[in-house]
């Protein structure tokens, strides 16, 4: 079941991102589904799955983007692994907490990528891009991630693992 879900995510998420999600954008900004997926998988299932799914989704995302074939591969892989480390140290994460973590992670990943992309132009317009693209996208990611985490059955399993009943109710 889990494998089937992962294969569906691998084959369906990036196509969904480049086609249907264009209609869900606000002022041309869309959420980064592979980032949200890598974070949640890492957070709920551990380092190995987070890292691998992050790398695979990032690689696919790079293939359908005008950028180099490694930026998303690295950032999404790192996000998957980082989310697992965060998840390991948070016994009772609420959806709001997950949203806040996703916001920070998304801003960091987006800013790193933008700074790297603008190196050749002497970092021209970096702050503008962070303000106009990275932060709105991070807000989008945070809201979406928190909503998915709130409805995910995995959250209940995770809460049970940690023996914290209150986590089920989004304390």
């Amino acid at each position: 079941m889990k494998q089937a879900l992962y294969i569906s995510v691998m084959l369906g998420l990036v196509p969904f991102q480049v086609t249907v999600l264009n209609y869900a954008g606000i002022a041309g900004i869309r959420p980064d589904l592979p980032l949200v997926a890598a974070f949640l998988i890492g957070f709920l299932s551990g380092e190995m799955e987070g890292l691998l799914m992050g790398v695979i989704l990032g690689c696919m995302q790079d293939l359908f983007s005008a950028g180099s074939v490694w930026i998303n591969l690295i950032t999404k892989g790192a996000i998957g692994a980082l989310a697992a480390l965060l998840g390991r140290h948070l016994a009772s994460a609420t959806p709001v907490m997950v949203g806040a973590l996703l916001f920070v992670v998304s801003v960091l990943a987006g800013s790193t990528a933008v700074v790297w992309l603008r190196v050749e132009d002497g970092f021209a317009g970096v702050l503008d891009i962070i303000q106009a693209v990275v932060v709105p996208e991070a807000l989008f990611d945070a809201a979406l991630g928190a909503a998915i985490y709130w409805i995910l059955p995995g959250r209940r399993r995770r809460a049970a693992e940690f023996g914290d009943d209150m986590a089920l109710f989004g304390r």
Partner: protein
Amino acid sequence: MLRALSGTTRLILLLLALLLSVIFLLPKQTRDVLQAMGKPVSALVFFPVEAFTSVEQTIIGVWQEYVALRHVREENRQLRRDLELLQKQNSDLRESASGAHRMAALLDFKEQFIPKTVAAQVIGRDSTNWYSSLILNKGDRDGVRPEMGVMTSAGVVGRVVKTGPFSSVVLLLTDPHNAITGIIQRSRDEGIVEGTTQGRARIKYLPLLANLRIGDTVVTSGLTGGFPRGVVIGSVLSLQKEEGELFQSAEITPEANLSRLEEVLVITVPRSLDGQANLKEK
């Protein structure tokens, strides 16, 4: 924190760190290897992309046809009037073209261009918010290669930056990472057309003495990139001439509507060798 990780996870993290080091030390080589490795994956993911696109097109088609039917009679009448006018203009242009062709042959000019193109459908947009790009349903197998120019009947769209077996990625004219050489059609002043971070386009490095006017048409110069000379890029919207600067620049409005593209033409051969051969025969 690392002590809590298992042996396999440490190994994977180590491999990832190694990969990162190789990418930073040998960026060009790594990019080529990753690009080649990604092609089969790109082919695999292309089919779900096309499936999503066909569902989306069906829904859009049904909706648009229903809405269009309400105004179709009036539109048809208007189109007939336009057609008559265009037929007359076409006839005049044929006559002029025929005269120009004879003159060109007489002066032994080489035929300027009749580009060879491949029609492609737009099946998606960039997977990130950092680039303005399109995904096309034509790739390596259809003869599409990186650096080829992309246009519509209205004008320049952008250039191909990445190809897979069945798909390709086109960086739009309005992306800051794109640059195309252009000339002002009226004054023949040359500059570089670049995208801006605000999602518009600008022609830079125009001589200070260049005589620019708002509304001037900017066309491709044909000197670099995959475009022949004379393809419309856009028209001048505003001029920027600052004191102490060596050049002036102008903001331009792209002629092609880049936010609503459905079909485009990829220029596979910008200059027609056949055209030149025909001319020599004459």
